[in-house]
């Protein structure tokens, strides 16, 4: 995308005002989106966004500018703006010599979606619409979206690194409405992987459509969720977002450094039930949060955050690692070339336990079984978090019984981690997610085996 000799000159320009680090992040994204709603393919849309962000660091100050102009003149102009923003007196001339990193492939792509005809993408959504509507006469509306994107990336910095990457992601989303005597209910499901169009050789889109429709239909018979504290059993592959919110964000080193995390100063301490081993793993092939290198050019890693309940480490980007004189962990990510990198999660999951999930349910006299979760959010400083249950059931006398209407669950991260008292052996990854932080969204994955939290507050209306 950009030659090394141009990158070298742009980085040198970035250092001219006395900065100690300069970086170019250039990307070229092309994507296709198809939307179906109300029985019709509404539109097919294609787009392209490319540009470069230039970051210059002088001491504790970062200057950043971006441009859609990838010519040498455009890059030099952005470098001057970034350098000026980070001005640190001094100045001078530095020569940069870049060494191209060997390229690394974590998620090999078999079929680049841009080589697939648009008609085949449209056809997927027609199949989705048919399958969702055939799932039950009460299904009154279906909307679905297909999207794919391919991003080519070049990252170069004044430490001499230059790295290239190519990322392909493919996503299908289905949302269904069911209409019954007690009003409308909705169901949602999605499928997304860091892979090409071969995704649809492995998974039948009809299954995704039926899962979404099934959720809407199930809830037509649902009763209001309970109000108050109860044991909660979370189905494998549906509750990873709990860990993402309950502790993942609190283990991001930038938040820890500012004292905005309940996990500050807790490395080496027991912060969770000894059943819990939590990992953030950017190398997990084809998962939604998989990356070969992070957005600062550092290879992705398998990072153990909590081992048998003991906090082992936080997640790190270039800036925080540099300040504390320790290695990066491959967690420096950004939404696009227009954004500064931050510490971000990739695929965050809890390793398998030993129990048969059926035993966990059987041993729960009264509680709630959560089979699908919506989004969530956390206040990292207090640890208070919420997440929405989009498919849930009552557990009565050790058996899953009636479906429940939607609602939020609320808890405190450190407390909930300690209250995990049962862990299954049926690990599964969950739906693809977009994690938001400071206005930037990045693709993330999560997963966990079936588990039980001794007590959580369920935000329903039934007493």
């Amino acid at each position: 995308m950009i030659d090394n000799d141009i990158l070298e000159r742009v980085l040198a320009e970035g250092l001219r005002t006395g900065a100690d680090f300069a970086e170019v992040f250039a990307s070229d994204w092309r994507g296709t989106g198809v939307g179906l709603d109300d029985g019709k393919i509404e539109q097919l849309s294609t787009g392209r966004n490319r540009g470069a962000g230039i970051r210059v660091i002088a001491g504790d100050t970062t200057g950043f500018a971006h441009t859609a102009d990838l010519s040498e003149a455009g890059l030099m102009a952005a470098a001057r703006v970034a350098a000026e923003a980070a001005r640190q007196g001094g100045g001078g001339t530095k020569v940069i010599a870049l060494t191209t990193q060997p390229s690394r492939i974590v998620s090999p792509i078999k079929i680049d979606p841009s080589t697939i005809g648009k008609a085949a993408k449209v056809d997927l959504l027609r199949r989705v619409d048919d399958a969702a509507r055939s799932a039950g006469g009460a299904i009154s509306q279906v909307s679905a979206g297909y999207s794919d994107g391919r991003t080519r990336i070049v990252i170069a910095n004044s430490d001499g690194l230059v790295a290239h990457d190519e990322r392909v992601r493919t996503l299908l989303r289905v949302s269904a409405v069911a209409n019954g005597d007690a009003g409308m209910q909705t169901g949602f499901d999605s499928l997304g992987h860091t892979m090409g169009f071969e995704l649809f050789d492995k998974v039948q889109v009809e299954d995704v459509a039926r899962a979404a429709a099934g959720r809407a239909l199930t809830k037509l018979k649902a009763r209001p969720a309970p109000s108050g504290s109860l044991p909660v059993v979370i189905k494998a592959g549906s509750g990873g977002v709990l860990f993402h919110e309950a502790c993942g964000h609190g283990l991001e080193a930038d938040l820890v450094a500012k004292g905005a995390s309940v996990y500050k100063g807790k490395v080496g301490e027991l912060v969770a039930s000894p059943l819990v081993t939590l990992v953030d793993d950017g190398t997990m092939t084809h998962e939604w949060g998989a990356i070969a290198i992070d957005d600062e050019g550092h290879p992705s890693q398998y990072n153990v955050l909590i081992e048998n309940g003991i906090l082992t480490d936080y997640m790190w980007d270039y800036l925080r690692a540099r300040k504390e004189g320790r290695p990066q962990s491959g967690n420096g990510r950004r939404q696009s070339y227009k954004d500064l990198p931050m510490v971000r999660m990739t695929n965050t999951y809890v390793l398998n336990g030993e129990e048969d999930p059926a035993d966990i349910i059987k041993d729960t006299p009264n509680g709630v079984y959560v089979a699908h979760l919506g989004g969530g959010s956390v206040n990292t400083a207090t640890g208070d978090f919420v997440f929405g249950m989009t498919e849930a059931y009552l557990i009565e006398n050790g058996e899953i019984t009636e479906p429940l209407r939607e609602g939020n669950l609320i808890g405190n991260g450190p407390q909930v981690l300690r209250d995990i008292d049962r862990l299954g052996n049926d690990f599964a990854m969950g739906n693809p997610g977009t994690c938001g932080k400071d206005g930037q969204g990045v693709p993330v994955g999560d997963g966990q085996p079936t588990l039980r939290v001794k007590s959580m507050t369920i935000g329903g209306t039934a007493s």
């Binding site: 097919l44 849309s45 859609a68 209306t461």
Partner: protein
């Protein structure tokens, strides 16, 4: 969008695309360009300084009821030709929809708004940094238990133009600046968080003292909070929370949801859907609204629309598509998320008609209630199709007419339909907030609080 940009350059680009329409084609070009600055200060030093520029074009082509779109993040003429060709190719894959079409000028007069201030362009970088530093300092001075997470100055300058083969030709520009501060308050092992903000068209309009005071107050008022007992209770929503609640209600009063069978309120025009105390208006022509504008994202004049009058449902907000499909007049509510997206119906500037009493007067009349000062997880706990409403919350208990102990880590739940009918009072404390809805104190009966 606002008064035409000085050069008219973007409109020229949009018109050039529209002129390339072939017979039988409807073509729309949306062109935008923006510049922004963001300064973040931490412990008296600049942590980062971001200077951002963006531009792009989105093109929609409609032929025989089929729609195709394409966009790209540059205004390079060779790329624009490719975008138009792509949009044309894409429409071959859309399915015919008899109501498809671009907005058509409907003769409604534009109410001019003043959305641009030249003085912001002349504000020096040093002054922007100084403001963020000053806000951090003022906040820290407010309370010894308070730390500052980050203090930020940002500004944005945006221009946009829309042209269509149906005769729309509009361009406008808008700028503004924003200060925000995030706070942490510590007491022993406990930490709580808060925030404060100030907005203006120029830096002299930014009220730093108020932003600092609110940031301190929000963080410290929850120190010592406990988890309340579960029960049914009367809630008083703080104006900031009411504005978020109104945003959700506004999302259900949408013509697109109606035509696609996803609205709670379909077929209920003329019926009582809320307590008669509630009158809800979408009025982007009111210059006091933060999101005031004169033209919507499809190029129609923005206008005042009463949605709920004295509890009775009056109308839905419409895009030109949903208006055509419902057979009603356009309402000027086509919203656009930038050059990459197509317009869809949405509220622009929701306003609730205020009542008479202050929050203190309202609280004085409540024996057992809770003042909700913040909510968490509206995006995950509210379903605008089924109406289920459940959100994490924090606030102060109200006992015998006075506010008392802080509480947190609980939810409040009901359904949207029931909450509208359970409104018991609308406060007189109208606040114009930096979001697409105004706030007032709002009293709602019979909400379920789930805690311990």
């Amino acid at each position: 969008m606002s008064t035409p940009d000085r050069s008219g350059e973007l409109l020229v680009i949009a018109e050039r695309v529209v002129a390339m329409a072939k017979p039988g084609e409807q073509v729309e070009a949306y062109v935008s360009r923006g510049l922004s600055t963001e300064v973040r200060v931490y412990e008296g030093e600049v942590e980062h300084f971001v200077s951002a520029q963006s531009e792009g074009i989105g093109i929609r082509v409609i032929k025989d009821g089929r729609t195709g779109t394409s966009y790209c993040g540059t205004l390079d003429p060779s790329q624009i030709a490719e975008v138009l060709a792509e949009a044309r190719d894409n429409l071959g894959y859309g399915e015919p929809d008899e109501w498809s079409g671009l907005a058509e000028p409907d003769g409604v007069a534009v109410v001019p708004q003043s959305l641009w201030d030249d003085s912001l362009e002349n504000t020096s970088t040093a002054r922007k940094i100084e403001l963020a530093k000053l806000l951090e300092k003022l906040t820290l001075a407010g309370d010894s238990r308070v730390r500052v997470d980050d203090s930020n100055y940002s500004d944005a300058f945006g221009e946009a133009a829309v042209a269509t083969t149906t005769g729309i030709r509009v361009a406008g520009r808008e700028n503004g600046c924003y200060l925000s501060v995030g706070t942490l308050a510590d007491d022993g092992d406990e930490t709580q968080t808060g925030f404060g903000f100030a907005v203006g068209r120029n830096v002299d309009e930014l009220d730093l003292e108020r932003a600092a005071r609110e940031a301190v107050d929000r963080a410290t008022r929850l120190l010592g909070a406990t988890k309340p007992e579960s029960r049914r209770i009367t809630v008083v929503l703080d104006p900031f929370v009411t504005a978020q609640f109104l945003g959700i209600i506004g999302g259900t009063l949408n013509g697109e949801s109606v035509v696609k069978g996803r609205s709670l309120f379909a077929n209920r025009i003329g019926e009582v859907v809320a307590n008669p105390l509630l009158t809800l208006v979408d009025d982007p022509t009111n210059p006091l609204a933060y999101t005031a504008t004169d033209i919507d994202g499809e190029g129609l004049a923005a206008r005042r629309n009463a949605l709920i009058q004295d509890g009775v449902l009056q109308k839905f907000v419409q895009s030109s598509y949903s208006a055509r499909r419902m057979g009603v007049a356009p309402t000027g509510n086509g919203l656009r998320g930038g050059y990459g997206g197509s317009p869809s119906a949405g509220c622009l500037a929701l306003q609730i008609v205020p009542g008479l009493r202050s929050q203190a007067e309202i609280v004085a009349g409540i024996d057992d209630g809770i003042l909700i000062q913040q909510v968490q997880g509206l995006h995950s706990g509210v379903n605008a199709v089924s109406g289920d409403f459940s959100t994490g919350a924090a606030g102060l208990l109200i006992k015998n007419g006075t506010v008392g102990a802080p509480v947190r880590e609980f939810t409040i739940a009901s359904t949207l339909q029931k909450m509208l009918l359970d409104i018991a009072e609308v406060g007189g404390d109208l606040e114009w907030l930096p979001m697409s809805a105004t706030g007032v104190s709002l009293v709602i009966h019979d909400v379920t609080m789930s805690g311990a």
